[in-house]
């Protein structure tokens, strides 16, 4: 139905007239009017199936009242509805009695007990007693249907929510009904687990305790749970969540349904990695390197650790200090660090990105789009990472929009992606050559060229491969700016609050509020007093400078360059050559283990503040539990260090920091603390203005392939060796061990059988790896995921090269 067809209709519900939109289901219209009709199978984000019959109400369309399922009946003008008639009540009682006929009633040991729609609705609408005296259905209980989800078929009321979600929303139809009638049951296919990135959503929407999540089973009772509304910062999508704890321990995250972002869904990585916060491996007190044994870190107190840190910073002087990281931080913490670097240390060597993102110039300066814009654009052009792996819920939103025909997804890239199944077109190009492919397309008579130039376009632009430099993405941006000036962008930088960190000025050459260092606002100058005049170094340049002995003190602000910087050799060299490495983190990551001073920070769920998602939407992160040991918030560490360096950030609380951000950051002007604390924050506050007039750097050309080597392509997987994943016992084993994928013909040419161990050689390293033939890989290329456990792609990559080639040899 097109939007013009929607008209207002008036429906009478229980004697009161309500306005509804034609075509809308009665149950939804009643919900909006505050009349609750009980339901099990209906879910507002999925199509109606009318299976449970719990929502039957008396509907009169002129032929007398008739019991009709309100989730299936579209409203019509003059409809008279009675949700409390005797017939309705009898039907509700009857349906509940039927549902309980075969329900095991193991509420006392059921995770759902206490928050169970079946319990609640039985209490509200059910019969007082059951007249069923026969033997109930029996099944083995529970059975694991994946690593994360258990299924108890006795408890299942066959509402089709999980199966519908898997098929309709996730696109992973791995759970299905089997058998028929009274023996119907939900099951997986033989030997095929329900290994969907989105499986946890089925647990959340199951109206009974039939589906339970391994990380939460038997952890808490709902009445012991406390919750706070927050935002997931595992990636930059910024899904809204409810953070739940019991006895000061995080036990569960649930998705919160907000229209603009996640529609209530979460990916399993974001949903279950709360386990990491509770980990025994957390850093809970400061450490310094043992002067007598360089291989060892010694526990120390905050006073000495801060004093040595301040001393190392002072000694180095502003030009020889570098700060890498900051996307783990809240906006407020990032602001404090940005201010600390510029106004106290006097350096502009700050970068929240780890050389695997895009220049801040692009992130802050390209014309912005929202997620909703993308879902409604005529075309979404994806030139960047595999969204299913890197921004899982963005993938889900796009999939939903594409499968409903609201938008057409077009991809240009070198590798297959999770979006292939719903894309209108997936155009394959050589790695690094998307810009060329796009301009050829646009000047061709392919109807797609017209579609792109005549219709609305949202571009999702990112690094298609970490083995490519930023140049191909910059070149792509240039083509789009020139040929498709009407296009807007969602820049696919992935890490947590990277958008917020850049907005707060954690990028060389940029100040809070999307302004250049050359153009500070008057209020900022007044507050900060001192601002470096020249742009400093980004992460790549800092690491290069460090490797050349030109950086004396390096601060890793929640950053692990050894794992996340594309070029491990360079990162290792830099860390080794730097006199003092100060790491502020939650865990002893591989980089932290090399640091000289380690300061333990509070983690997610232990700090409050705001975060900013990929589209520039500010939303709240909430503190739910107290932090372990003597961990401190990042902003406090910045203030303390400032004092010890003779400065004063004049920041005393997160609220205080926000007030200052609102004053000094031009893009954030008007977003007052009151607004940030108001109910407006449920959907988040979108910040779109930017004073940056874009000056795209001139990209380097992609060199021609030499014909001997294979072009390396490296993207991230949802399940990888990320710290929070590794530190979550339920998730740790989900990452696959790495194997390099090559087209079978290339392997044949080399005379190497699939599955054998080979020597992989690049300019950076020679390592042994298993090779797998895969005809989804283009000839002449090799795919090795980034940051998998074991030999990661970062060993082979030279960060200064536009493109990285490798060779494969038999052992």
């Amino acid at each position: 139905m097109s939007e013009q067809d929607v008209t207002e209709v008036t429906v009478t519900v229980n004697g009161t007239e309500i306005e509804a939109q034609s075509g809308e289901m009665l149950i939804a219209a009643a919900d909006r009017a505050g009349v609750h009709i009980p339901r099990f199978c209906y879910h507002e984000r999925m199509s109606s199936v009318g299976m449970c019959r719990m929502c039957l109400v008396d509907v009169d369309t002129g032929r007398g009242p008739m019991l009709q399922p309100s989730c299936m009946v579209p409203v019509s003008e003059g409809m008279i509805v009675d949700t409390e008639s005797d017939d309705t009540k009898r039907a509700q009682e009857g349906i509940l009695e039927f549902l309980l006929v075969n329900h095991p009633l193991d509420c006392p040991v059921c995770d759902k007990g206490g928050e169970c729609p079946l319990q609640d609705q039985t209490l509200a609408y059910g019969p007082g007693e059951s007249r069923f005296i026969e033997e109930k259905r029996h099944y083995e209980k529970p059975i694991p249907i994946s690593d994360l989800v258990h299924l108890d078929r006795e408890r299942c009321i066959l509402c089709d929510r999980c199966t519908r979600f898997a098929d309709e929303i996730a696109g992973d139809p791995l759970i299905q009904f089997t058998e028929r009638g009274n023996s119907t049951q939900v099951l997986t296919f033989p030997d095929e687990p329900f290994s969907s990135y989105f499986s946890g959503n089925t647990v959340q929407i199951c109206p009974v305790g039939a589906l339970t999540a391994a990380p939460y089973r038997f952890k808490a009772r709902p009445w012991d749970l406390e919750e706070n509304e927050s935002t997931c910062t595992t990636c930059s999508m910024g899904c809204r969540i409810s953070v739940q704890s019991s006895r000061n321990e995080l036990v569960r995250y649930l998705g919160v349904d907000v229209e603009s972002v996640n529609h209530g869904w979460l990916c399993d990585k974001g949903r279950f990695n709360f386990e990491a916060v509770n980990s025994d491996e957390r850093l809970t007190s400061p450490f310094v390197r043992d002067p007598d044994n360089q291989r060892q870190l010694l526990g120390t107190d905050w006073g000495s650790a801060l004093a040595s840190s301040a001393e190392a910073i002072r000694r180095a002087g502003p030009q020889k200090v570098g700060i890498i990281g900051g996307s783990r931080l809240t906006n407020e913490d990032a602001y404090a660090w940005s201010k600390f670097a510029r106004s106290v240390i006097g350096t502009d060597n700050v970068d929240a990105q780890l050389g695997d993102g895009l220049p801040a110039e692009l992130v802050l300066g390209l014309p912005p789009a929202t997620i909703a814009d993308a879902c409604e654009a005529d075309t979404v052009l994806v030139i960047g990472p595999d969204l299913k792996e890197e921004l899982a819920i963005l993938h889900l939103r796009l999939r939903g929009a594409a499968t409903k025909g609201r938008t057409q997804v077009v991809q240009i890239g070198a590798a297959t992606t999770g979006s292939d199944s719903y894309a209108q077109r997936s155009i394959r190009c050589q790695t690094g050559e998307a810009a060329k492919t796009l301009s050829e397309l646009l000047s061709s008579d392919d109807p797609l060229a017209k579609q792109l130039s005549d219709g609305s376009v949202v571009v999702i632009l990112g690094r298609s491969s970490v083995a490519e430099s930023v140049d191909p993405a910059v070149a792509t941006a240039a083509v789009i700016q020139a040929e498709l000036p009407h296009a807007t962008f969602l820049v696919a930088v992935r890490r947590g609050n990277v958008r917020g960190a850049l907005d707060m000025g954690l990028a060389p050459g940029f100040l809070p509020g999307r302004t250049r260092i050359s153009n500070p606002s008057a209020s900022l100058t007044e507050k900060w007093k001192q601002i470096p005049e020249k742009s400093g170094l980004g992460t790549s340049e800092m690491l290069q400078a460090a490797a050349a002995g030109q950086i004396e003190t390096l601060i890793l602000l929640g950053a692990d360059p050894l794992s996340d910087f594309p070029d491990r050799n360079l990162a290792a060299d830099a860390i080794q050559k730097t006199k003092t490495v100060i790491a502020i983190d939650n865990f002893a990551t591989s980089s932290v283990a090399q640091a000289d001073i380690v300061l333990p920070a509070t983690a997610y769920g232990e700090q409050s503040g705001t975060t900013t998602n990929i589209e520039g939407r500010i939303s709240r992160v909430a503190q739910k539990i107290t932090s372990p040991g003597s961990t401190r918030d990042d902003w406090m560490i910045a203030t303390e260090l400032a004092w010890r360096l003779g400065g004063d950030l004049e920041l005393t609380s997160k609220e205080d920091i926000w007030r200052e951000i609102e004053q000094v950051a031009p893009s954030h002007a008007g977003i007052t603390l009151e607004r940030v604390q108001s109910s407006e924050m449920f959907e988040g506050i979108l910040v779109q203005q930017s004073s940056i007039d874009l000056a795209l750097p001139v990209p380097k050309d992609t060199p021609v392939a030499d014909g001997y080597g294979l072009r390396l392509i490296s993207g991230r997987k949802l399940w990888d060796a990320a710290t929070t994943t590794e530190q979550s016992p339920s998730l740790r084993h989900l990452a696959e061990s790495p194997s390099i994928k090559v087209h079978p013909n290339d392997l044949q040419r080399l005379g190497i059988p699939s599955g054998t161990e080979v020597r992989v050689i690049s300019t950076r390293a020679t390592e042994n790896l298993t090779v797998t033939a895969d005809d989804n890989v283009q000839r002449g290329t090799a795919i090795l995921p980034f940051n998998q456990p074991g030999v990661g792609a970062n060993r082979f990559i030279d960060a200064t090269a536009v493109i990285n080639d490798i060779r494969i040899e038999t052992l």
Partner: protein, 470 residues
């Protein structure tokens, strides 16, 4: 004993010819009735040729004027249904419902086994009239002979140029695709059939839309017709609507096939005159069933397939006319008549039917999935002498969750029970759920004393004792 005048035909077991006009069974007399040679020799495919000379609208009008009522169960006029296709939406499909599985119904099977070309020609006429470009013929999985014969006939028809591209040199092209069912009764329901054709679980779709004619197979306009409905088309086109309406009554013209099973002398399939033939004619007529076996008394009969409410001898004089049968509390349905004589254990008979429908529930909706099996369990307890009087109430109460309000039933003048007219209300998606309750409701209403006898002596049994016994 009266002398039987109907003619059983050796090569068409189950069919008995009688004196009524024979529209769809005319060729059954020939031993090779299923072959293309015989079909062509007996006017076969002449109607198609005639139709192709007319415009599709003219053919559609002819069928509309003939008031050909659907023979699949609902009795909806085919010509009217065809008109529900939204104009301008293509392609449109024809789906032939040959899943015949309603207990007691076996007429479509004979039509497919004995005259497959008549069905194919009917399909082609329907496709021509409504602009349907592809036809899917769905045949019940268990009907091996029908499958074989239809497949052979279709090959021959393709070979002879009756089916396929540019049929008989015209602009008209249709492909017919055969599909075998996988053994589910509910797939006879037209939307479940469409789901099954699409490769999904055979579960009914939700209404609205009320007719697949608007949104059907693969989301396209789709006409679903019963085998017998389509088999009438060659005759109608050949002889005209007037000749068709000259037979039977105005609201129920033509003939219809009925399948009689149970306690009659000569069970079988009969072609009878629609609208005028009465149940008495059918069950007692010498050229038809010839009376009740062993000249016993008739106790009850199911007039329209296993899911129809039951009749007793009081309703024998009703004709095969929906407008008369409905107000008397039942329906004509699929034309299956199941006859029970005085020796019948009524509760046990009801259990047989309820068990069937409970077993055939697709499981999609709660009242049928849970209620059907529960009804069966309670009734089994009663039939095996372990139930209590409370169970008799329970049967009705559980049934009322499936079918709220008064359930249709026949009048029993002796007991002062008045008829409750058809149809019933229901909380389920399709009619399978109510069908599990229908036999129980009829049996309990019409023959309550038989149930009371089964539970007599159990007055002191507590629910606990009953439960332990289960």
């Amino acid at each position: 004993m009266n002398e039987m005048t109907g003619t059983p035909i050796a090569h068409a077991p189950g069919f008995i010819a009688n004196e009524t006009p024979r529209i769809v069974t005319a060729r059954f007399d020939y031993e090779d009735s299923h072959t293309l040679e015989r079909y062509e020799a007996t006017d076969g495919y002449q109607a198609l040729k005639k139709a192709l000379k007319k415009t599709p609208e003219e053919v559609h009008d002819e069928v509309r004027d003939a008031t050909l009522l659907g023979r699949g169960g609902a009795g909806f006029p085919a010509g009217v249904k065809w008109g529900f296709c939204p104009p301008g939406v293509w392609p449109r499909y024809l789906v032939v419902n040959g899943d015949e599985s309603e207990p007691g119904t076996y007429k479509d099977r004979l039509l497919m086994e004995l005259d497959p070309h008549q069905l194919i020609e009917g399909c082609l006429i329907a496709c021509y009239a409504v602009g349907l470009s592809q036809c899917f013929l769905y045949i019940r999985g268990e009907m091996a002979v029908a499958q074989e014969r239809v497949a052979q006939a279709l090959n021959d028809a393709y070979g002879a140029g009756y089916v396929g591209k540019n049929i008989l040199g015209s602009e008209f092209s249709v492909d017919i695709v055969l599909h075998w069912g996988a053994g589910a009764y509910v797939v006879g329901e037209e939307t479940a059939l469409i789901e099954s054709l699409e490769g999904n679980r055979g579960m009914p779709r939700l209404k609205p839309p009320y007719f697949p004619a608007s949104i059907g197979l693969y989301g396209q306009p789709t006409i679903v017709n019963n085998v017998e409905t389509l088999a009438n088309l060659p005759w109608i086109v050949q002889h005209g609507a007037d000749a068709f309406t000259a037979i039977g009554t105005e609201s129920s013209p033509g003939t219809r096939m009925v399948a009689v099973s149970g306690h009659v002398k000569r069970p079988g399939v009969y072609e009878i005159v629609n609208g005028t033939t009465t149940f008495r004619d059918l069950l007692y007529g010498n050229d038809m069933c010839g009376g009740i076996r062993d000249d016993n008394q008739l106790k009850a009969f199911v007039p329209g397939g296993g899911s129809a409410p039951w009749f007793t001898p009081d309703q024998l004089d009703l004709p095969f006319e929906a407008s008369q049968v409905g107000p008397q509390g039942s329906m004509l349905g699929s034309g299956a008549i199941m006859v029970m004589d005085e020796t019948t254990d009524i509760p046990a008979a009801a259990l047989t039917l309820t068990k069937f429908y409970a077993h055939e529930s697709c499981g999609k909706c709660v009242p049928c999935r849970e209620g059907g099996t529960w009804l069966e369990q309670i009734l089994r307890r009663v039939v095996t002498g372990r139930g209590t009087a409370r169970d008799l109430e329970l049967l009705i109460e559980v049934g009322e969750t499936i079918c709220p309000g008064e359930f249709p039933h026949a009048a029993v003048p002796d007991k002062g029970i008045e008829a409750v007219p058809f149809p019933y209300r229901m909380t389920t998606i399709c009619f399978v759920g109510p069908s599990a309750f229908a036999p129980i409701h009829s049996a309990l209403t019409l023959f309550r004393e038989e149930f009371e006898a089964k539970v007599a002596g159990n007055e002191t049994r507590t629910m606990i004792e009953v439960a332990v016994d289960v």
